[in-house]
Structure formats: structure tokens, C-alpha cells
């Protein structure tokens, strides 16, 4: 007989804020919006605020009554589904579903031939796309690097999007130069779905937008927010405060300020067109007080991100978190330690999108090998997430009795079935010493490098239909022509 009225905790449980603490943080964020406000460098946004209950003073300082914030925040959908261009890969952003992906726009990439860093190219983004397309534990693609070998920095986003689409069939998170850039990216992706309304049912990307902490919203960010609201494009407004420099040094204070920044975006898009799918975000970390770098390897990053994730679930918004990144300049022990730590906590917190996997040198350098290494770590992390099943078959009473004292389990049918549920490492070495020596004493770094070589040599993503590809190129060329000096 099955038991009734039982609570079964099958997966690990982790949270860092209590319900009462979340209430406190949310209440404090409302106070910031009402009392301090935020600046908007965009005329239409200011006009929208002026025509609402909000107050605009000192040219562009916007303060919003909490009643309006509370109205706005309820209008965003609780979940978002994304599908890649070919329809083969999809992800869901609903409560406690965790997806992993790269970060975006790193100015430098490690050259695989020379080992030196150089400016990121179109080919680098395409290659990162192919690696992403291949790696089974990575679910969504951000560009990893920022394309800089294009004719004009003002159209890099279209070139980058094309490289991403060519290289990868998984759902994406896209950056753009401004509203016009976002419109082009949205047109490019809509081509795969036929028309605007179909696209809205089955979007391919979330647009990535940042406020500038503390409490500033620049022209291009606001353009993108307004366009996303108009077209119902899923959108994340993700603050990047550095605790102690652009936000309070207390983590709670940083979380309050970031939440206020996100809620301001909620209000603005609500005034423009209610219902835009909004993702809460935040790379909430500390400014290292010796080197002044914005740290991607600090434990505070993981702790604050987990707290933000708790808040996001309470608000019913999907969450964009961070993990798999490092301050280290090379793919060394430090990189592995920091990547693994942040991946574990981001996963356990239940954030929907864990990004910046493979970020090196505090968000400055891209490495393809780092993606391959992190794929292995994520495999381990996801295994922990499976938790413990305690159903009859898993308690294995019959088996224990059948084998009895002094027996062996190796040859039982039960083992043959259930060992396949374990994590099988692909790159980690568990061999005995003599075997390791006989096989050439390869290190993890060696294995990561040859696996990266192999994927780049062998993996070809599903091609884009030729006609469609021409249409995509046309959008990119048109943008280049418009911006040619």
C-alpha cells in the first residue's frame, strides 16, 4: 500500500533567505523607489512616467508610488519557454528548473594556437557556438565573446547574432547596441518562425539589458526595454552592482538596491505595454578591495545570487543567475575551484538561467576550454540535484535479502539497471596509478584540450536553410549600410 500524507524530499533543499527576510527586502526596495528613485536618460520613458502616478523631478529623476510598483510587478508571466532555431533544443523557465549557459560579450579570447589573448572575432563566437551546440550539459547560448572584426562597432550585435545562429541551435540570450539593434535581432530570429505572432508564441531568445548601478538607466537600455515591452520580447533587466563601490557593502543593501532597479524596469514596461515577460537578474558581487576588480569568483557572488533567487521565486519571476566563472587568468586550479563552487550554489538555489559559464579573468577573457571543463562540473552538479529516491525498488529490500550476508551485487540485474543512473565522468580520471602512467600521465588540462580540439574538428551544427540565411545576411548588411560613415 502506498503511504498517504507524506512529504518526500527527493532533491536537496537550499535557500538563504526566510520568508520574513524576503518581505523585508522587498519592502525596503519599495522604499528606495518611492524615496530615492532612479534616473532615466530617455525622453519617452520620462513622458510615460510623467503621465502616470510617478513623479519626475530634477530633469530625469523618477520616483514611483508603491501602489504602481505592486500593480506592475503582477503583470509579468510566471514562466517563459524558449526554443532554439531548429526546434530541437528547448528550455523552460519555470520554478526550480535550472538551465546552464555561457556569458556574453567578452572583449578578449585566448587564441588556441598562441595561447595569447587577443580581441574576440566572428570566428570565435561561431566556434563558441559550436562547442555550446555540442556540450550536453549546457542549455542556452550567450555569445561568450564580443565580435570586434566587423565594419562598425554600432552594428556588432547583428554580426554576433548571425555567428551565434550559424554555430548553435540552442536557445539564446542576446545583447544589443540599442533599440534599433534589438529590432534587427528580433527580425532575424522571427524569420525562423515565419511571422511576428508565431514568434511570440515560440521565442528563441531573451534580450539582455543592464541598468547602471546605482539606479541609473541609460538611453540604449531604455530603448531596448520599451521595444521589448511593445513586442512582448522576453527581457532581463540585470543589475551588475559591485558591492562596496556601486552598491552598499552589505549584501542585503546590494540586493535591495538591485531589486529596486529591476522593479523600476517592471514599472516602465508596464506603462508602455503590460505583460512583458521579465526575468529578474543580477551579477551581484563585490569589488575586490585590493585589486579593484569586479569579482567573478567570490563566495559573496554565489550567496547574493542565491538570495536574489529566493526573492525571484517569491515574486513569481524567472531568475537569471551566475556560475561557472572565475577571476583566474588561466584555466588552472583557481578557475576550477571558483567555477565549481558557484555552479553548485546557483544550481541548488533553483535559478532558471545560470550564465557566465566559461567567463575568465573577471569577465574579460573567453576560453573555449573553460566551456568544456565546466560541462563536466555541471554534469556532477546535476547529479547531486537528482537527490535520493526512496521508493521500494530503490530501498532494494528484496535484493539485499536475496544476496544475503557475504554475497556480491556486481552480477545482479538491479546493478545493471541502476548503475546507469550514476554520473559517468568523461574527462575526470579515476584510473589506478599504473594505468595512468601507462596511458601517458595525462592531466585534466590535457584531456580538456584534446576534447576541445575534437569537438571543433568534428561537430557541425545543423545548417540554416540557404534562403533564410540570405535573408539574415541582408538584415546585417542593411544595418552596416545604414551605419556606414
Amino acid at each position: 500500500m502506498p503511504k498517504i500524507n507524506q512529504t518526500i524530499q527527493e532533491t536537496p533543499y537550499f535557500r538563504v533567505l526566510s520568508e520574513d527576510q524576503i518581505e523585508r527586502i522587498y519592502s525596503a526596495a519599495l522604499d528606495v523607489i518611492q524615496r530615492t528613485g532612479a534616473r532615466f536618460y530617455h525622453e519617452e520613458a520620462l513622458e510615460l512616467f510623467r503621465n502616470s502616478e510617478a513623479v519626475v523631478t530634477d530633469e530625469n529623476l523618477v520616483r514611483v508610488p508603491l501602489s504602481l510598483v505592486e500593480k506592475a510587478i503582477k503583470t509579468h508571466p510566471r514562466k517563459i519557454n524558449l526554443t532554439g532555431r531548429s526546434g530541437k533544443h528547448g528550455i523552460k523557465l519555470d520554478r526550480d528548473t535550472v538551465n546552464f549557459g555561457t556569458g556574453s560579450d567578452l572583449p578578449f579570447t585566448y587564441d588556441r594556437q598562441t595561447g595569447e589573448r587577443r580581441r574576440t572575432t566572428y570566428q570565435d563566437v561561431y566556434d563558441a557556438g559550436r562547442i555550446l551546440d555540442y556540450l550536453p550539459n549546457l542549455d542556452f547560448f550567450m555569445s561568450h565573446g564580443i565580435v570586434q572584426d566587423c565594419p562598425n562597432t554600432q552594428t556588432y550585435d547583428r554580426h554576433q547574432c548571425l555567428a551565434m545562429l550559424e554555430g548553435c541551435t540552442k536557445p539564446m540570450v542576446l545583447t544589443s547596441v540599442d533599440g534599433e539593434g534589438l529590432q534587427d535581432l528580433w527580425r532575424m530570429c522571427s524569420l525562423f518562425r515565419g511571422n511576428e505572432k508565431e514568434y511570440r508564441l515560440n521565442p528563441m531568445f531573451i534580450t539582455y539589458i543592464e541598468p547602471i548601478s546605482p539606479l541609473m538607466n541609460d538611453r540604449s537600455a531604455v530603448e531596448k526595454l520599451l521595444f521589448s515591452a511593445e513586442k512582448g520580447i522576453p527581457c532581463m533587466y540585470t543589475p551588475c552592482p559591485s558591492s562596496g563601490a556601486t552598491a552598499p557593502a552589505s549584501l542585503a543593501g546590494m540586493i535591495v538596491q538591485s531589486l529596486a532597479e529591476t522593479l523600476m524596469a517592471s514599472v516602465l514596461t508596464y506603462l508602455k505595454n503590460p505583460g512583458m515577460p521579465l526575468v529578474m537578474g543580477g551579477v551581484t558581487t563585490v569589488l575586490d578591495m585590493l585589486t579593484t576588480t569586479y569579482s567573478y569568483g567570490s563566495p559573496e557572488l554565489s550567496l547574493a545570487s542565491a538570495a536574489n533567487t529566493d526573492v525571484s521565486k517569491w515574486l513569481g519571476l524567472p531568475m537569471f543567475s551566475t556560475g561557472g566563472c572565475t577571476d583566474s587568468k588561466t584555466l588552472d586550479e583557481q578557475a576550477a575551484i571558483e567555477s565549481a563552487t558557484s555552479l553548485y550554489y546557483a544550481f541548488l538555489s533553483g535559478a532558471n538561467l545560470v550564465h557566465d559559464v566559461g567567463y575568465m579573468d573577471s569577465g574579460v577573457n573567453a576560453s573555449l576550454e573553460s566551456l568544456v571543463m565546466n560541462n563536466e562540473i555541471i554534469g556532477m552538479v546535476k547529479q547531486i540535484g537528482k537527490g535520493i529516491n526512496t521508493e521500494e525498488e530503490y530501498l532494494a529490500l528484496e535484493l539485499i535479502d536475496q544476496i544475503g550476508p557475504g554475497g556480491e551485487f556486481l552480477t545482479s540485474e538491479h546493478t545493471l539497471v541502476h548503475y546507469k543512473e550514476w554520473f559517468q565522468p568523461k574527462l575526470q580520471d579515476r584510473s589506478d596509478y599504473a594505468t595512468w602512467v601507462r596511458e601517458g600521465q595525462h592531466t585534466m588540462a590535457d584531456r580538456i584540450q584534446s576534447e576541445t580540439d575534437r569537438i571543433l574538428k568534428e561537430h557541425e551544427p545543423e545548417p540554416i536553410d540557404k534562403e533564410l540565411h540570405q535573408e539574415l545576411k541582408k538584415i546585417v548588411q542593411d544595418a552596416d549600410e545604414r551605419h556606414a560613415k
Binding site: 536618460y41 560579450d105 572583449p107 564580443i146 556588432y156 547602471i212 541609473m216 541609460d218 569589488l287 579593484t292
Partner: protein, 212 residues
Amino acid sequence: MTEKLGKIADGLLSGNVEEVSNLTQELLDDGTDPEEILQKGLFAGMDVVSQKFKDCEMFIPEVLRSAKAMQGAMEKLRPKLSEASSSKAGTVVTATVQGDLHDIGKNLAGMMMEGSGFNVIDMGIDRKTEDIVNAVKENKPQILGLSALLTTTMPKMGEVINALKEAGIRDQVKVMIGGAPVTDDFAEEIGADAYAPNASIGTEKALELIKA
């Protein structure tokens, strides 16, 4: 007097803004040579601060508190310094270029330079090229510090340097640049005089530039 100079150095180390400012005023009132206050009090104290920072015994928040104390004292001292010595603690104009609203790196660099005795005039964020050129004309700084965080706004720094050339004042000011996507190569490419990857190296390079 020597005792007071020592106290100034100690006050800088502990970041006591009021004490350092008051002591500087007292020494000036006593008729102490401003050059001596600068060298044996303020610079001596800040030398210890930068050594302690290098040795990881002081961190950025403490260094900035010391820099604030330095700046307070310099406000008192600067009008009394001879032209020769005030150029040792020269003027820096800083700005984030047009289209970019990021400024924490620039602000940090400015504060650290104030700690080294520079008079820092910060123009703020999103500043038009022509406004920056005008500020150089008006303030005649020894150094112009330009900042950009984005690869999309980085080319504006080159535009400012070209505009300085067109205005015929490029040789009157040293240009330093900074920001996450900036490199030595880029500095060379656009004809800047120096690139600094962080605020403390920026301060060192600023001191070298005005010596040169």
C-alpha cells in the same frame, strides 16, 4: 613643527580628515614653508599609505579615506604653493566619453590621484568630445584621463585625441585612458600617452607623465 608634521603623516595613515586639515592650517599660520608641509608631512604620510597598500596591509576603503584627508589638506595648501611645486601636484581632468554612463573606475582613479596631491577636475559621464576639449582649454590640466567601459564607446577616446589635435592643443596635455576593454595596444593605436589597467597604476603613471 616637526611634531606637527609627524602628526600629519599619522593623520593621513588613519584617514583623519579633520585633524590633517586643521594641522595643515596651524602649520601655515605658524609660518611653516608650504613646500615643507607638502614634502615632510603630506607626501611622507601618503608614501607610507601606498607602501602599506602594496603590502596588503591597507585596502581600498582605507586608502580612499587617507586620500580624502590628503585632498582636504591640499585645498588649504595649494593656493600657498609656488608655481614650481604646485605643478608637482598637477591638475587632472577626468571624463567618461559620450554614450557611456559608467564611472566607477574613473572615480576611483580620480580619488587615488587626489591622494597623490593632484587637483582632479571630474567632468562626469557621457561627455561630448567638444566639451572635453573645451575643459582642457579652460583648465589647462597636465593630464586628461578618459574612460570607457564598452567596446562600442571606446572609439570615442580616439575621437577626443583627434579633436585635441585639431584644436592645436594636443601637445599641451598628456592623455591617459582606461576601462575594461582598453589595452596598451589600443592606447598606442589612438595616440594616447598612457594606459592604466587600474587606479593605483594610473596614479603611478600620472606621476611619471608629469615628470617627463
